[in-house]
């Protein structure tokens, strides 16, 4: 008997303790003040128009999100918004977290859902319609996920194989050009890719093979496997450990990376690597207003900010992607060493959404068993 009473007491104390703890822990988060309260006209209007959100904006991004601090500071002071950034993981983790929290949205605006997960985001209705004004219609149409204007393209890039040019020169072999070349005997044991189950570029490359081969993609991977393709856990292992053309000086001269990667390997005005433009998948990254956002207006402001000329010009150096606004001037090195593919392999977003999970499972049982 006494023990039971003691348990009840303990539970009661736990409840009291938890509330006390919670309130003192939560306090700092709720009492934070905006940088410059009402200093700018934009700030005042945002605050008066949307009293429910107290001038706060929560931006949910993938874990590669990055912009110059000055630009972010400018946005904060121009909008007068108290901005919080959260970056829960890669594009898949990000999208799935938003799906999981549909009933109580994680934030106001999302950036970083790519076209391999866009279909899922649209099907699940986690983003609300928003008509972006800062992006030229032609650029938006070229990269759109569907025709519902719920996802606004912010940047894009080509996921392509990269080759260590010096290796091919000294071994007297031609650099492969197409997906079909990769299964030829002279390229046996040369390629390392990352696992589509644990890496976004890996998933993009798997999608490229589906786009190129249709139903024949499983056969193609069987041939790749027979030709000694190596599967790394993620981009880091593939590129900086297994690849011979970068810092790791590994054993494999062909690696799955981005078309922009050679620009970052340039030494004395020459790039020791090059991308194989016939093997690419075009990855597009979108922003959207989260359905049920407390501050949809602030969310819209943030999307326009991402499309502003300053941010678009900042994207290549910060996120290693091409700006969606094509008129944006590119860094000099990119013009020389980071070409885009003329004909990347594509698969419509809704088809990816419907079949992605099945592809990964089939791929796993085919390639790694």
């Amino acid at each position: 008997m006494p023990t039971i009473r003691r348990t009840t007491l303990a539970l009661a104390a736990a409840a009291v303790g938890s509330l006390a703890l919670a309130s003192c822990v939560a306090a700092p988060a709720t009492t934070s003040t905006p940088d410059a309260p009402g200093a700018t006209p934009a700030g005042t209007t945002a605050a008066t128009r949307a009293p429910a959100n107290n001038g706060k904006l929560t931006v949910v991004t993938h874990d590669s999100f990055n912009l110059s601090e000055e630009l972010l500071d400018t946005f904060k002071s121009d909008s007068g918004l108290d901005v919080t950034f959260v970056a829960p993981g890669d594009t898949g983790t990000l999208t799935n977290q938003l799906v999981l929290t549909k009933d109580s949205p994680l934030g106001d605006v999302v950036f970083g859902i790519d076209n391999t997960f866009a279909g899922r985001a649209l099907d699940e209705g986690i983003v609300a319609p928003y008509e972006a004004t800062t992006i030229p219609a032609a650029d938006a149409d070229a990269l759109q996920a569907d025709d519902s204007n719920r996802l606004t393209p912010i940047d894009f890039g080509d996921v392509c194989l990269n080759a260590d040019t010096a290796w091919f020169e000294s071994n007297g072999k031609a650099i492969p050009e197409t997906l079909d070349d990769l299964v030829k005997p002279e390229y046996k044991d040369l390629l390392v890719v990352s696992n589509p189950a644990s890496s976004s570029p890996g998933l993009a490359f798997l999608t490229a093979t589906v786009g190129a081969k249709g139903e024949g993609w499983v056969d193609y991977w069987t041939q790749l496997k027979d030709n000694g393709v190596l599967v790394a856990k993620d981009w880091t292992e593939a590129y900086s450990v297994q690849f011979s053309g970068s810092t790791g000086k590994g054993p494999r001269p062909l690696v799955l990376s981005y078309s922009t990667s050679p620009a970052f390997e340039v030494v004395d005005g020459a790039a020791p690597t090059q991308s194989l433009l016939g093997t690419c998948f075009r990855q597009v990254e979108y922003a959207g207003v989260i359905e049920g956002a407390a501050n949809p207006e602030g969310a819209g402001q943030f999307i326009e900010f991402l499309l502003s000329p300053e941010v678009q010009a900042d994207i290549p150096g910060q996120m290693y992607m091409y700006p969606a606004v094509r008129a944006t001037e590119l860094p000099e090195e990119w013009v020389k060493f980071a070409p885009l593919s003329d004909n990347p392999h594509t698969v419509p977003a809704d088809e990816i959404a419907a079949k992605r999970d099945g592809w990964i499972r089939t791929w796993t049982s085919t390639v790694v068993g």
Binding site: A15, S18, N66, V86, T101, S104, E237, S240, V241
Partner: protein, 547 residues
Amino acid sequence: MTRRVGWTLAGALPLAFLGIFFTWPVATLVARGFFPDGVFTLAGFQQVFSEDRTWRVIGTTLAQAAAGTVVAVLLGVPGAWVLHRTRFPGRWLVRAVVTIPFVLPSVVVGVAFKSLVISTGPLGHLGLDRSFAIIVASLVFFNYALVVRTVGALWASLDPRTEQAASVLGASPTRVFLTVTLRALFPAIASAAALVFLFCASAYGVVMVLGGAGYGTIETEIWFLTTQLLDLTGAAALSIVQLVVVGASLIVANRLQATQARAQRMRTDSSNESPWRFRRDIGPTLLTAAVVLGLLLFPMSTLVIRSLTTASGLGLDHYSNLATTGGGTLSVPVWEAVGNSLRTATVATVLALVLGLLVSLVVSRNPRNELGRRGLGLLDAAFMLPLGVSAVTVGFGFLITLNRPPLDLRSSMVLVPIAQAIVALPLVVRVLLPVLRAIDPRLREAAAVLGASPGKVLRDVDLAFLTRGLGLATGFAFATSLGEFGATSFLARPDEPTLPVVVFRLIGRPGLENQGMGMAAAVLLAVGCALVMALAERMRPEEATTW
């Protein structure tokens, strides 16, 4: 009566913390898996357990954790002797070095180990790539210090007179070790082994890199099902398996401890350390040197080399870049991330220490009835659970529980130190508990009989013995939160990154500049950890020492 209320409160506060920030989120997420459309179903279970892969994954997890634990203990106990019972110059440095792996982000360790064993690496000819041996080696790399430190802390405070008596009575050194010393150390060994087992069972990044494609553990499957597929039914089934594994290992550890835990003669000074002696110490010393040099420093040296390699030979360029944003790859210079890390880790350490101290004091009580003892055993085990449960489950659980006022903390920075404190708390308890349990209850009784109030007994007996463990516990807690990445990565703030987040970001970018700077940041983290551990070691209040 007031005492009882006091102890109940002391236990209730940490329990409430655990309940809100661990049990509730995990239970809610797992429950979603069983009620996918609001209706209870075991379909996920059937689906998951009908796949061969699931059983293989469970087998791999157990094999990996068991092998990692056994090897870490076998190597760690001699290490504890050398580093905690013998005196030699530079000992503080070696002690600090063995703790470094504890804070290294797994992505960096993955690169370090993998670079050694691939065909072009220095160990390429040994054919270790994708071998079980290299996976176990990496697990021991991470967990060696846990055994050395936990066992060493108790060993250093054991009264050597019991051993001396046995040897005077004619027992051989081996017999003394096996019958006296090992038995006295048993609680600490079991305690450390339980921790190591949980860490090994839930290891994620490194084992996936070293094991190669197809290598899967329960942890990697839960990560995939949850983050990539949002298949909560499948993930819930695996989470239950994970809980069963964790629960079973905790029961075993608890039983082992219960059979052996008894009061030891302890002392609070370090007079039982003796100078290094060739005949007695050469064996364990050689073994420990081999582990420290071959298993710890060798892989770490590849990181140092990478951090020093520039386009024009060796240089410190990457280190001077740490003052910058790395040409824009980071949103803040690395030193600002260091500031974030230190701030977060300080808060996490204070939280973990306060709560861990309360838990240890409560659990070390000796209730008169069986039920009370059982209850304390359960309490003890409850705080170990977070080590064995997937960070993904906790992270996704946060999203659907801590989402309403007054607990809408999902985008709040306070969750970061809280998540780290939950991981550090069991370490604090594991360090403090063996010390507290080994206090002869007669000491407390004697103090009470002589008229000391309960508060005074607590201060003058329990806390006096705890001081040594407290320094170590602080060091471990701080190091854990400095290096914690699993839970932190779900809560990361791009504009306020911690040091491991910065390393992860840099190493995920092409180009020598980024890679080299990432490695330099990792080396900075390692040196910082070594400093913290060396300082924590010196945190011993005057009155607890005799000289």
